[in-house]
């Protein structure tokens, strides 16, 4: 028995048997992947559309918003070493606003992903937190489900790139902080400010660029987060 299990022949047999199990297992995963592929894509799109409808006014939402997407070069102002996307919102066929994916890298518990809509004068329309790991009950008040704090950004604009009003009240700025959590709102304010600075620097560039991340490429980028 023992010698037979180490002979080249039986090793071959074992390898073949293992390979066939591998084949069956992989086929199962492939089949499920095909069966769920469309539903997953649909869910991702739905999630993005849900985000857009929260940061953009109703009249700027249209069917093709998802297609008018541009993949931005990685930039420290956007807070991540991953490429971020921007979507162009139109009204009567003219671009009137931009929706940025951006990240506050210095939250209390790591990255806070944001969706920020601003018009072409770099005035914030609205901001939403897409995902975060902040402390429940303290830092998680940046989440719209917990408090309205995030709405305090709307209608605000940046006057110059080192506008001192863009800080929490504790640092002499115009945004309220939270009791018990200073780091979280500070990180979000900074990220929004940085994104507006970025927009100011790159706006004309963005407007000239061709859309390059409609659907598939955009979905892939999303997966990395």
């Amino acid at each position: 028995m023992k010698s037979s299990s180490t002979s080249p022949r039986s090793i071959m047999k074992l390898a073949l048997s293992l390979a066939s199990f591998g084949f069956v297992a992989t086929s199962l995963v492939v089949a499920t992947h095909w069966a769920t592929k469309e539903a997953i894509e649909q869910q991702r799109k739905q999630q993005l559309i849900k985000g857009f409808s929260q940061v953009l006014p109703q009249n700027m939402l249209d069917q093709n918003l998802l297609e008018r997407c541009i993949l931005l070069e990685q930039d420290p102002l956007l807070g991540s070493d991953q490429k971020k996307s921007v979507w162009l919102a139109k009204e009567q066929d003219k671009v009137v606003a931009m929706v940025f994916q951006t990240t506050a890298p210095d939250g209390y518990n790591g990255d806070i992903d944001l969706l920020l809509a601003s018009d072409l004068t770099q005035k914030v329309l609205d901001v939403r937190v897409i995902s975060h790991k902040e402390t429940p009950g303290l830092g998680d008040r940046i989440d719209i489900r917990k408090s309205d704090w995030i709405k305090s950004f709307s209608e605000k604009s940046l006057h110059e790139s080192n506008d001192s009003r863009w800080a929490v009240t504790k640092d002499g700025g115009m945004f309220d902080g939270f009791t018990g959590a200073t780091i979280t709102p500070r990180a979000v304010v900074k990220a929004v400010k940085n994104t507006l600075v970025y927009q100011g620097m790159h706006q004309s560039e963005i407007l000239e660029q061709a859309y390059n991340c409609g659907d598939d490429s955009m979905l892939k980028d999303d997966q990395d987060d």
């Binding site: 769920t36 991702r44 429940p136």
Partner: protein
Amino acid sequence: MTNFAAIANNGLWKNNPGIVQLLGLCPLLAVTNSTVNAIGLGLATMVVLLASNITVSMIRTKVTKEIRIPVFVMVIAAFVTCIELLMNAYTYELYLNLGIFIPLIVTNCIIIGRAEAFAAKNTVKAAAFDGLMMGLGFGLVLLILGMVREVLGAGTLFASMDLLLGDWAKQLEIVVYQSDHKLLLAVLPPGAFLVMGFLIAAKNAIDKALESRSKPAVILEPINHNEQT
């Protein structure tokens, strides 16, 4: 030949994977900050356990012992990946909430443990029942932890059940109490350990009470004596 009552007792109480074997503690403690997360992970684990037990039992005569472990791992990984894809497709927000803990089901020792210790030696029917009971035992611990922590930490029960069950479940949310100062500790990681500790203690206390009722506690006396001196 197989004693289904014994299997059920084993999975749900005597050898409960959560509070007796203490397997899979990482997801157990990490995702139980709300009831919906707990149920989500509990169900996912149960399905994987059931499917892997059935499959392992079915192939137990065809797999030689040299390649047993890699085959089991492959079977489990395949099922977990399928579950992950399905949750991604049909319970998207719950999938986002549970995050890394869905793929991590692969590394949950309960699953490979049951495959190796039970399914590989028993009939398909018994293995299926064992998977179900072990999964249920694990799921119930998750559920209790999730409920206790949600009530203490957030003051609600069954909040956001719509993530799992669809929109109608929004009305399931019960506000137990409302306060500006909730017991935050309960939803943070240390709270998980504390609640878990009390749960294990309660289980042991019940076992002891049952034991002492069946026979007078003569055996305990010398131990008590030693402690006092």
